[in-house]
Symmetry: C2
């Protein structure tokens, strides 16, 4: 289907087309397309832009990655399809950042495809194609990691991660930075530093902040971050957006319960043919 | 992947697996999987159950379908994959209900697959496989309808419909009943009677209500329905769910803005290895 740039949802339709194409090539699985839709719904509720709270979290994420001894970013099929360029920019901005392929639905072929996509974006060293270790408390196929990457990392950036894995990483004592548009997801709630933002916007901002910080003084410690406050902020943004959207659509305001007595029949009835 | 019934999201994972499988057979397109994800997010926010407001809308929908001279239900790939049985139950409950295949991404092969799925569920007559008319104000491939179905219908039940089509049908003076989990979608806002509920729950309830009403007195007129009030109700349900979920997750309440002074550092810090 050809997309018109004048379509009200052009930007999200383009992302959708890109992901559908990655799915045809086998890079993204069916479940990944469904996950994209869930993300879209929350991004829509968040106004499809980076909130001030998310920007603060992204700045903190940049600091943590720079302060880490062994930072790693975990990349799955959706992240590679959507944001390979942004992962490459982050790898340039954070010296020593390991980039590891990490698949929920792992096959050797898909792992190679993710790695190829990352290399095409300019990332030289990609870990995790041939896993060399496992992490505890996970089904075997999802526990596979690289002993030079996630296994030994002190800070793990896990965009679009599933809840079980995020919890397992945290249980290992690692600092977990998530990127997830659902502030109520298990991943967001498990993370030490949850970034509630779209993956490309988030990685771009983290990379820019890291570039900026490196030029001044590289952080040597982990500034405390209030994970609950940032999730509360995101929820507040959604509630405000719902209230505003309701007003714009002239839908009855959400606080007031509709009473049958206030019923005014079907609006626009008069325009109908009899 | 085998699913454990003890997984906290077993029901939605089963639906997901069913749709992914329908996608492999070509019944559901990639865009349909993404749309499913968007729906899932809203269903999650609505508590994955039929709200009292939705039930009221479903009762009204049953009455409108029984009062119609020429009622039709429009069926796309996602509806066929998820709810063929429920469409069949509705066709049994509403005498004269036309069932029409209606695809956003139409190919002859997909139209046949949708029809086959419906016939396998027990529906004898399926319209729209070979479209015989077009409706105005739509791109040609999405305008195709059956001259015995949607073209002449007075009431159109359009589950999981796109906004353009819902608006075009309404502009033709038809009474549009939508089933869509997003109360802010253009489809929900275009509909005369928007049902904000999951498609299988919604069709099941409409069918049951229609069975019940037929046994007493069949409605002879269209009871007015307050579309805005029902959408406002759905928004209120979502806002309440967000507030409750925030409290359950012990996230800072959405109404209060987080202040940097309230920061308590990273929770659970002490459990870490030094």
């Amino acid at each position: 289907m050809r997309l018109s740039p004048r379509h009200p949802r052009y930007a999200s339709l383009r992302v959708r087309a890109r992901l559908a194409e990655a799915h045809r090539r086998g890079l993204v699985v069916s479940e990944g397309l469904i996950a994209q839709g869930r993300g879209e719904a929350f991004d829509y509720l968040l106004g499809e832009r980076t909130s001030p709270g998310a920007r603060k979290a992204e700045r903190a994420a940049a600091e943590w990655l720079l302060a880490a001894r062994r930072p790693v970013i975990s990349v799955n099929g959706n992240v590679a399809a959507l944001a390979a360029e942004e992962v490459a920019a982050l790898a340039r901005a954070v010296p020593g950042l390991a980039v590891e392929v990490n698949l929920f639905h792992r096959t050797g072929e898909r792992a190679r495809q993710v790695a190829d996509t990352l290399r095409a974006a300019g990332i030289r060293k990609v870990l995790g194609v041939h896993p060399t270790a496992t992490i505890p408390h996970l089904p075997s196929d999802r526990a596979k990691v690289d002993r030079r990457g996630i296994l030994v990392a002190d800070v793990c950036l896990v965009p679009l991660e599933d809840g079980d894995r995020a919890e397992a990483l945290r249980a290992l004592g690692k600092r977990v930075i998530s990127v997830d548009l659902n502030p109520l997801s298990r991943t967001s709630r498990a993370a030490d530093l949850p970034v509630v933002d779209e993956v490309r916007r988030a990685l771009r901002e983290i990379a820019q902040q890291a570039e900026r910080r490196r030029r001044t003084a590289r952080p040597s410690r982990f500034t405390p971050f209030d994970a609950r406050a940032t999730l509360g902020d995101a929820l507040a943004t959604i509630v405000r957006a719902l209230t505003r959207a309701a007003a714009r659509s002239r839908i009855a305001p959400p606080r007031r319960r509709a009473s049958p007595r206030r019923s005014r029949g079907i609006p626009g009835r008069s325009r109908r043919t009899p």
